[in-house]
């Protein structure tokens, strides 16, 4: 079975995010970019399925600026077999919207015919949490979101989902779209020998036009602003005082 893993290049989670002075978005000039952490988990899961013999090929796809090929190289160095880069923007500040991404992924699916798509539940830059679901709608495939465990059994995938208040296990018929949560696995380091080997793995470059998809934004960003600075804390003298404050001032008890 072939697995498709979409990976997004996002601002590194360690970077202190700064809003551009004109409020149009986050400043990405000369900022460290990395693979979306949830996508790393998705790549790791695909590799584990391949190591277990369930999966025969892992295809990583990235949609964005040309520099996203770095992200794909990382996926290849982790263990993906080949990569497809769809160059859909010139400016690093252009975010391709979930619907456009889902349409492009649908087109890739039509060409590649994978048995499973493993994606991150959301990208940490725009926190949309929509691409996987939209892709499921466009393909008409089953979807299982927020996976914290994934088992493939014959024609089906058993997915444990992190839902409010606990865990839910569902069985979906493949082909299916699975979006992964934080606790699914701990992604491996791209090992040095695999980094050296990644250079020889194929990376195909495409454009949205190749798939006949229009990526023009449909959403308009009105304003981006910094979160309000956290107000200074207070020191309390005793547990009683703390409880009183939580009751009377914070109103949480």
């Amino acid at each position: 079975m072939k697995v498709l893993v979409p990976v997004k290049r996002v601002i590194d989670y360690n970077v202190k995010v700064r809003v551009k002075t004109d409020g149009s978005g986050v400043d990405l000039a000369n900022v460290k970019m990395s693979m979306n952490p949830f996508d790393e988990i998705a790549v790791e899961e695909a590799i584990r399925l391949k190591e277990a013999g369930t999966v025969s090929e892992i295809v990583a796809v990235s949609i964005g600026v040309k520099q996203a090929q770095e992200t794909l190289r990382t996926a290849l160095a982790m263990g993906a077999d080949r990569a497809i880069l769809i160059v859909a923007a010139d400016d690093v500040h252009t975010d391709i919207e979930p619907l456009a991404v889902a349409k492009l992924l649908k087109a890739v699916i039509d060409a590649e015919d994978p048995g499973l798509v493993i994606a991150g539940k959301q990208a940490i830059d725009n926190d949309m949490n929509a691409t996987g679901q939209m892709l499921a709608a466009l393909t008409g495939w089953a979807q299982a979101t927020f996976a914290s465990e994934l088992k493939v059994e014959g024609e089906h995938a058993l997915v444990t989902r992190e839902v409010d208040g606990g865990l839910q296990t569902i069985k979906v018929k493949m082909p299916a779209i699975v979006t992964v949560d934080l606790r699914l696995n701990e992604p491996r380091y791209a090992s040095l020998p695999n980094i050296m080997k990644a250079k020889k793995k194929p990376l195909e470059e495409k454009t949205p036009a190749d798939y006949g998809v229009d990526v023009t934004p449909r959403l308009e960003v009105l304003k981006t602003s910094e979160p309000p600075a956290r107000a200074a804390g207070v020191k309390v003298g005793s547990v009683d005082e703390l409880i009183t404050k939580l009751k009377d001032e914070a109103g949480v008890l």
Binding site: T74, R188, Y189, S191, L192, I195
Partner: protein, 387 residues
């Protein structure tokens, strides 16, 4: 000329950096406190380093290393250099390149176990009476039949306590040179446990806690002829050929620690407020940051250039000496200023700065003191003028 990292280099840096931050940093405080690196921890971290392909990555692929070019290797060294030295050197070991100079049998016996993490190597040159002037050494080896008999004392020998063997450089004669009579030197493998070879606990030193040094004593220590590394009397040629880049390794590890200290200083300068503003806005602090970053970059460029030239076959002794000199002196300055920017907090062991500052002191002494590096550079400058 171009200065961009390749995709491979970027990923090597990312993997090494992530490993150092995730696997090594959490153990630093304990090792600084106890001065000891427990064997169970070594084994655990070695296994993780091997899984990430980081262990002994300096070695060529045919012996199980990563086959990195010199520049990529130095980028990896910079990242490892961020962490406590004992941790990275022991748990992500880089066996000495000189092990590649051995015969196939010697490689099998000494290099292979180092690659597998079963043991470590150590190199014994320095003596109480011979440091910078190694060709003035007095420890000696004399031939007896086909065997060699070793006598004398070496000191400051790093990690000889855990090493399974040492490569000992011994005087095996004298010769006349333009600079007077000098010793002929031969390198020997000496296994731990060989009769007449004793490893004694060394000194406590201010730098690199947990990274030990030892005193080695040779007392009529008899070893067979097959233990000679390279040719008899050619110990310095072997060292020159295989240990040349060690100075660049020292330079690169200095870069990593300086980068870490500077990152702390920068974020502190942006967060700490006194007199109603960020201290970084006081010119006295802002200019320090500017000087630290500029010095760091200068040292980096010298190191990367020397590494690049090393593979191009055009590197000179002076190139490597400049990189080592600049990087070690830069680190001392950056560590000191990072503490200054932190005020009293910089001296406290909550932050890694006090130890980076202590550790920095060693770097200007080992692998050739700053004076010896300057001597090498000026000698190369004066030579064409008959100097």
């Amino acid at each position: 000329m171009h200065f961009a990292m390749t995709d491979e280099q970027r990923m090597i840096v990312e993997t090494t950096r992530a490993f150092v931050e995730t696997e090594l940093y959490p153990h630093e405080a304990e090792i600084e406190r106890t001065g000891h690196l427990p064997m169970e921890l070594i084994r655990e971290l070695q296994a993780k380093a091997m899984a990430a392909g980081l262990y002994a990555a300096n070695m060529p692929e045919d012996v199980g290393g990563a086959g990195l070019d010199t520049l990529s290797w130095l980028l990896y060294e910079k990242e490892l250099g961020r962490a406590n030295y004992a941790l990275h050197w022991t748990c992500v070991a880089r066996p000495s390149n000189i092990l590649l100079a051995g015969t196939p049998e010697q490689r099998e016996k000494y290099l292979v176990p180092c690659m597998k993490g079963e043991t470590w190597d150590c190199l014994a040159m320095t003596e109480p009476g011979a440091g910078s002037d190694l060709r003035g050494m007095s420890a000696s080896a004399r031939q007896d039949g086909t065997d060699w008999v070793l006598n004398g004392t070496k000191h400051f020998i790093s990690h000889a306590d855990i090493a399974g063997f040492t490569i000992a450089f011994m005087a095996t004669g004298e010769e006349d040179t333009p600079r007077g009579r000098k010793k002929k030197i031969t390198a020997f493998f000496v296994d731990k446990g060989t009769k007449g070879f004793t490893v004694r606990e060394g000194y406590r030193n201010v730098a690199h806690r947990g990274y030990t040094n030892a005193i080695l004593e040779f007392d009529d220590c008899r070893i067979p002829a097959e233990n000679v590394l390279g040719e008899v009397h050619k110990g310095f040629e072997v060292a020159g050929k295989w240990l040349g880049a060690t100075r660049l390794q020292v330079a690169a590890t200095c870069l990593g620690r300086a980068d870490r200290a500077l990152a702390h200083a920068l974020s502190w300068a942006a967060e700490r407020r006194q007199f109603g503003q960020q201290i970084g806005k006081f010119q006295g602090i802002g200019f320090k940051l500017a000087d630290m970053a500029t010095e760091l970059k200068a040292a980096e460029l010298l190191t990367w250039e020397a590494g690049w030239k090393y593979d191009a076959g055009t590197v000179t002794e002076a190139d490597m000496a400049m990189a080592k000199l600049k990087a070690s002196e830069m680190l001392a300055m950056v560590a000191d200023e990072a503490i200054q920017i932190h005020g009293g907090m910089g001296l406290m062991d909550e932050l890694p700065l006090e130890r980076i500052w202590r550790d920095a002191r060693l770097e200007r002494i080992w692998e050739g003191t700053s004076e010896i590096q300057r001597h090498i550079i000026s000698r190369e400058m004066l030579r064409p003028l008959g100097g």
